[in-house]
Amino acid sequence: MARRIWILALVLCALFTGLKAWRGGALETDLLAMLPPTERSPLPEKAIASLARAAGDRAVFLVGGPDAPGTREAALELAAGLRESGAFQGVLGRLPAMDPGAVPRFYGERRFRLPAPAAPLRDALEARLAVPMGSLPGLDPATDPVGHVQAFLGGLPLQTLRLANEDGLLLARDGDRVHVLVAATLPGSAYDPRVQDRAAAAVRGAEGRLRAAHPGLELLRTGAVFYGEEARTRAEGEATLITWASLGATVLLFVLVFGSARHLAVGLLCVGGGMAVAAAATLAAFGRMHLMTLVCGASMLGVAVDYPFLYFAHHVNAGPGWDARASLRALLPALLMGAATTMLGFATLGAAPFPGLRQMALFSVAGVAGSLATLALVAPSLLARPVPPRPALAGALGRALRAWRMPAWALGTLALLACAALPRLRVDDDVRTLVQSPGALRAQEERIREITGVGNQGRFLLVEGPDAGTILAREEALRARLAGLPGLEGVQAVSCFVPSPGAQARSLEDWRRRRTELEAALKEAGFRPEVVAAVGPGLEAAAGRPITVEDWMGTPLAGAFRHLWMPGEASLVLPQGPIPSARLRAAVQDLPGVRLVDKADSVSALLGRFRRLANAALAGALVLVGAMLAWRYGWKRGIRVLLPAVLGILAALAGCALLGLPLTLFSTIALVLVLGFGVDYTVFVAEASEPFGPAAMGTALAGFATLLSFGLLAFSRTPVLQGFGAALGVGVAAALLLAPLARKESA
């Protein structure tokens, strides 16, 4: 009965997972989504999200070539090709025609709210009229006689972008080459696999046609969507490879040792059962599964297969007297003990308020439980009949195990090596090395940044205040503080476009005071009487016509800066140039309502905090597992059962140090796994009725399978997985070799 219900439950789990996968969107590829919010208050997170949307849902292309019509045509063809693909919501090649007078008129009408020149107005007026320059549309000499509106426009932070609008194309120049910019907006999130696949296919097609039609042109692209796509396909490829390799190795082990299709089928059933339960539980609890969980989950095969191995080892060694149920009952303490310690280790990981860790913890605990339950409920009825013993292989393995002693000198050498290596262990929490992006894409992004001057978008100064006026005034104080800092090339801020109410009032007051000076200067220069007479009414009108953020938002200028303003809450000030975050932070620390937000820095700090938390979890798990072992085996033997796992952890640390791999949060997770595996092995050995019998064989097989699956991770090109795999591989190997320490009477 219980068996039927369990099989039904597994089928339902598999159906649920399948349905989720079929409907799409079940896989999360944004590594940062694994992390909890970095900031204590929601506002900076909102600002980060708004900035990420402004930059992330966009793909940018640069078509570079000689300054010839062909380069421009190629860019327009690329834009047309991308548009036709339908993979993008909008593609911008040619800029829409803009009224060149809109912006000068906007400020011209509000001129008395902009700062007056420091010089005597008579001089300023003369200089303005003597230059051989025409006027901007909407800024004739009557509107801007002393040139202060033009000066204000010249100071707007538009120059920091090295792009110029030439004949409706956005163009950057690099020596005698031109680069034409084409921008495309995505129809959805840059981390949505469907959006990624369509965008990648469209770009490949359009690029191919472009290269064929215009050979020799340089083509650069950047955008979160490309990074996401590349990371996802790579991780998916690696997950697939590791899954198949691990599966293949397990199958090979089964065939070699047990030589029966039945054992293989039951083994796979247990693994599959564990995976189905794990996937369904994760999806039910989190809605979607993170890529990292899946990749680590693929390695779960190695854990899930441990329990069948132990059981089968007894089956093949039992001979004709095999009683499937009695044997299971006899093994149950070992199985439960092993599973309980493993799950305990995983569960401590989930204690940290870290979505990614919780997901992995849940996945692993559910997977171990599912696999064990499948074994206990389903396997005995499928393996009811005894099998002929396979003395040749089992005997050989048994003899090898019996002969196996860790020689004292080898142990000593290894210990010395470990002690020598440990001081070299580095810690690295920098998220930038963790989320290392593909080299070619990174180089392209770097080049685009160089050509266009569009800078780092993950760092900004957040300015908060109770109302728009306070925010603008605080921005002005901030800009004054930042002015002249070495390494700072410019600042983008709304207050560059909209002076604070205080500054506007000061300007207006200044103009009122200098009214007679202005009128005299105009008269002297020969301005018509009606222009002179208009100064007074103009000043009066200016009092009731403030420059507001709302009005400014309606001008064509605002489009590129809209994301800097979070209405009623805060604003973003973007520093540009290679200025270190520490210098910025030091410069602004005493300004009210201003703080530096650096997502990469915050995430790195967070990773460091959680690495320390995971270390504490590991220590806690060691104590808990040790207590559990002491309760079952007594103090002395409990320590001997725990020791191989502890030494395995030390070996993993030494291995990382020797390989030059830094210790990250994820290698700490690997250490927790080493504890789980190591204790599994020693428990199997400790619970064994005879020291060198089937239990030893099951342990060895389980260890080999684990090593095969995790060892492969060490060859991953994703740094996180590489460190994870290396720590696990070394740790498990050491724990396995030391497992005989736990033998009942190992004398």
């Binding site: 004739d140 090295r162 120049r173 301005f527 222009v531």
Partner: protein
Amino acid sequence: MILPALLVLAALPQGLADHLREAAVVHADFQQTRHLKALSRPLKASGTLVLARDKGVVWSVRKPLAITYVIGPGGLLVVDAQGRREKRTAKDLPVLGQMGRVFQSLVQGDWKALEAHFAIEGSGGAAAWEVVLTPKAGLAGYLRQVRMKGGRFVDQVTIDDAGGDRMEIAFSRQRSQDPLAPDEAALLALE
């Protein structure tokens, strides 16, 4: 806003493109008269200019105040009566580079570049000619018409801007035999 000035300067070589192939430097005096709608009388200014092939232009206003504008392919330099300098490079203001390039192509007699921005009509012969430039879509928001007259050199340029103001520039004492003075060379290097 700088474009009209550049066109004035750039227009010079139309008549002297041939001479420029040998003579790389032209010196001249100018008399500028602005008719502004807002002013009841015309506004006059005068000064000198140096046009150096491949290097740029030094436009020095002497009256009613001293101010010098240097426009080269690399950017813009302004020196006021007190000797204060303000430099804007093409790197931080791309539009300057754009102007510089238009200018450059004109200096070298590249009328194709001009045809991208203007409809061009000419009349007369080599000794006395007249050219009318009417801007195409992009520039029409800034300019209405540019007229140039000259013989061996450009003698007069008239610019009507979109707002209805007019600028007339008359050139005199044009000469192509003087070499570039050291101070002029320094200015052209934006130093």
